[in-house]
Amino acid sequence: MATSLNDTTALLDIAGVSKAFGSVEVLRSVSLKVEKGEVVTVIGPSGSGKTTLLRCVNFLESYDSGSIRIDGKEVGFREAGARQRRSERDLAAMRAETGMVFQSFNLFPHLTAAGNIMLGLIKVRGKSKAEARQIAEHWLGRVGLAHKADSLPAELSGGQQQRVGIARAVAMEPKILLLDEITSALDPELVGEVLAVVRSLAEDGMTMVMVTHEMAFARDASSRIVFMADGGVSAVGPPKEILAQETTNERLRSFLARFRASHF
């Protein structure tokens, strides 16, 4: 149990989180603090635990030990007494504080672009239909899809679907936005339009944790890069510092070398 006397003011405080799937340890005592307004990108080879870590932050995955706090509140477990999973109702309320964008978009196929955004606003935030519609249209405008408000996901390109996915997440005004390889399922020519939206959100000061393979984006748009390997944080720091460590961090060197070989 992390003590409540932590000196931290971090918005997101991941402290000693471990998780195993059966006998496979996917997270080994991962710690990471994210300040308000930071854009943190998480890189690393596949199987290094990046996505699992992200999914623990909004408790789509449970973790075996350690704690994850958002604004000082433990995400998945009750604060007092023995370690006990929060009720589903509490979990839902906690999850509403974070937004998540998925690799495979995961739009609700029966709802229009606006409908996808409105669902959470109405059911979770308690907005009226008209108000929710207004907010949806605002965010669709922000991601350049004002004219697609009444289109169904199946009628949109991958890049457009992903932009709706982003709008759906940010419209809830989350404290922190989690982005899970959001460009990995896109055709190369559609990656740019999605990253442009993320960039503009960063400029607005949205706190983001982003798992990505877009190295150039990580280098240019993030305040810090976290390099994960074998379920642990192998290096963390500002992009320049991390990339400079290539000479000293063997894992990072081989990751970047392999990455360059396959991407350039």
């Binding site: 909004n58 978009f105 029966h110 759906r168």
Partner: protein
């Protein structure tokens, strides 16, 4: 073999067939409506329940699927009132039977539909903070219904044909009407030709209408 077709007597009693057809449709519609409720409730319960409940629901499904419908009809109409102090009319008894019967098939349809809803959609529902009930109502069920609509249509068409079995307990549906005309006119070929045509045309019309509905919904997948 000097049998010449003569439909005059059939037309004279056509009201028996027409009224029978309407009753057949009514029996099918009411039964599937109740069957859908049974199927939905049990399917949702099944996917979220523990082993005991699952075993009980599976037993119900297996029982119904492995017993001929006509036997179930006899059991409910003749058997149950003999043991329990209950009285119901033949049509009520049949609707009861057909509802429980279709419910068993629909549990399977809905259960596989629920399990076919992509995990990512449920994750997305969780991520925006929907409660389990809200995820079921606003995410899982709508997608499941789209997935299962074709199977639901097929079940309904089958059920419409199965209503002919109600004739064995003298429910005056289409097949019973045909039998009545046969007994009273002895025009066996004519009456069953006309009746067959009525089942065919109605069945196709239903199929056509339901496929239209499916196509409307498929756009949303």
């Amino acid at each position: 073999m000097g049998y010449t077709l003569n439909f005059n007597l059939i037309w004279r009693h056509f009201d028996k067939l027409w009224g029978g057809l309407l009753l057949s449709l009514e029996l099918a519609v009411i039964s599937i409506a109740i069957g859908i409720v049974i199927g939905l409730v049990l399917a949702v319960w099944y996917v979220s329940a523990g082993r005991v409940v699952r075993a009980i629901i599976a037993a119900y499904v297996e029982f119904i699927r492995n017993v001929p419908l006509i036997l179930l009809v006899y059991l409910v109409f003749y058997g149950v009132p003999t043991v329990v102090d209950l009285a119901y009319s033949a049509p009520t008894s049949f609707v009861l039977t057909l509802s429980v019967y279709s419910g068993a098939y629909l549990v399977e349809v809905f259960r596989s539909g629920l399990e076919a809803v992509p995990r990512g959609q449920l994750d997305a529902g969780k991520a925006i903070g929907l409660t389990p009930w809200q995820r079921l109502v606003h995410v899982r069920l709508p997608t499941m219904l789209r997935i299962t609509l074709p199977a639901l249509s097929n079940t309904f068409i089958s059920l419409f044909k199965d209503t002919s079995i109600a004739s064995v307990i003298s429910v005056p549906e289409l097949t019973y009407g045909a039998q009545w005309i046969n007994f009273n006119t002895f025009r066996i070929v004519e009456v069953y030709l006309v009746t067959t045509a009525m089942y065919l045309v109605t069945g196709y019309a239903l199929l056509f209408g339901l496929r239209l509905v499916e196509r409307r919904f498929r756009a949303a997948r």
